[in-house]
Symmetry: C2
Subunit: 189 residues, 2 copies
DNA sequence: GTCTATACCCTGATAGAC
DNA sequence: GTCTATCAGGGTATAGAC
């Protein structure tokens, strides 16, 4: 692992734990047992670290959404694929997901605009899936925006309930989250 | 309105917009058209402002939960009451809710411990309501932790979809959010 | 109650020796 | 590639005049 990769690995852990603004370059350097100035031989700025972490995750979401869009499945199966994908990436890389969701607003300029564009496109694609499901009567004819909001709110916070102590297990996430999101809570009998 | 109340009112708006750490005392002072030093005649520290905003909201949640606990209703009606209450307070005071959910980790010492204690008790009470609902077969026999997580994730992010432009309306929140959270998305016909 | 002036600390980042 | 030394700027907060 290169020094650069080490820096980003440590930054992921620290940013997730304390937030981007609360972690200083000196903090990162101390953990790596070097001086803060030495970090700048491997990265050009603190923000560059944030950009790399967030945009890598954002691009991954975009790619997966493009795959799901082109599936020839029912709308509910597409929704299920979106949910499964969120769960998978949350289990595999909870730090990146936490940072993407908590600290994206500290991106600047062109990168911020690019991030917002990807995010908007992702939401728009998910909205389309839901709308088609309503049209085909696979999905209850309720407010599409609320369904979108409720789904994304839960999926985007998965990281905060996974990967620490006495939290949800991988099995629980994969088995029960899709059921509850799609089928609801209240018994229909 | 006293100067102190003015300071807290401005702080609520700014903290919600930019985050606690990104708003400086100089920022608050500039908006009030005074110098930063003058703020300290009305408050003792920046953190005191945060504490007042968050603990007021947290105590309010606690009081409401105590009312709901003692209702003689079905578990589903209690859940509905919890959801309605979140929606009401989000509509009435979105700034406080946003700050509570985004910036509670910047509380320190005794106040932080008090906050975490209230939060834990709130979750425990909600967990009990869900468990009783499962026992009485009002609620689907699925993982209680997942139901709790999914519900709280959505309710705690309501503020981010309300109160800016082209977002959810008050009517949409009150009408559709409870339905979707309780009854799910997928058509059961 | 507000001001000016300032103390003190921490931040991201750079220059240049080794 | 890491170091020491340092800079410029921003942060919270205080002292004391008015």
């Amino acid at each position: 692992m290169t020094r650069r990769e080490q820096i980003i690995k440590i930054a992921k852990i620290q940013f997730r734990e304390s937030g981007y603004l609360s972690v200083s370059m000196r903090d990162l350097a101390t953990i790596l047992d070097i001086k803060a100035a030495s970090l700048y031989n491997h990265i050009t700025s603190k923000e560059e670290i944030l950009e790399e972490i967030i945009m890598q995750a954002a691009n991954y979401f975009t790619e997966e959404m493009n795959v799901i869009k082109s599936l020839e499945s029912s709308s509910v199966d597409k929704l299920k694929a979106v949910i499964d994908h969120h769960i998978d990436i949350t289990i595999r890389d909870p730090e990146s997901i936490a940072i993407l969701n908590n600290d994206w607003m500290y991106l600047e300029g062109k990168v911020l605009r690019e991030f917002l564009s990807l995010r908007k496109a992702y939401e728009e694609n998910l909205r389309t899936i839901i709308m088609e499901g309503v049209q085909k009567k696979e999905i209850n004819p309720q407010n599409v925006e609320i369904i979108l909001f409720s789904l994304l709110s839960t999926l985007r916070r998965l990281h905060s309930w996974y990967g620490k102590q006495n939290d949800l297990s991988e099995y629980q996430l994969k088995e029960d989250v899709p059921k509850i999101l799609l089928n609801g809570i209240v018994s229909s009998t």
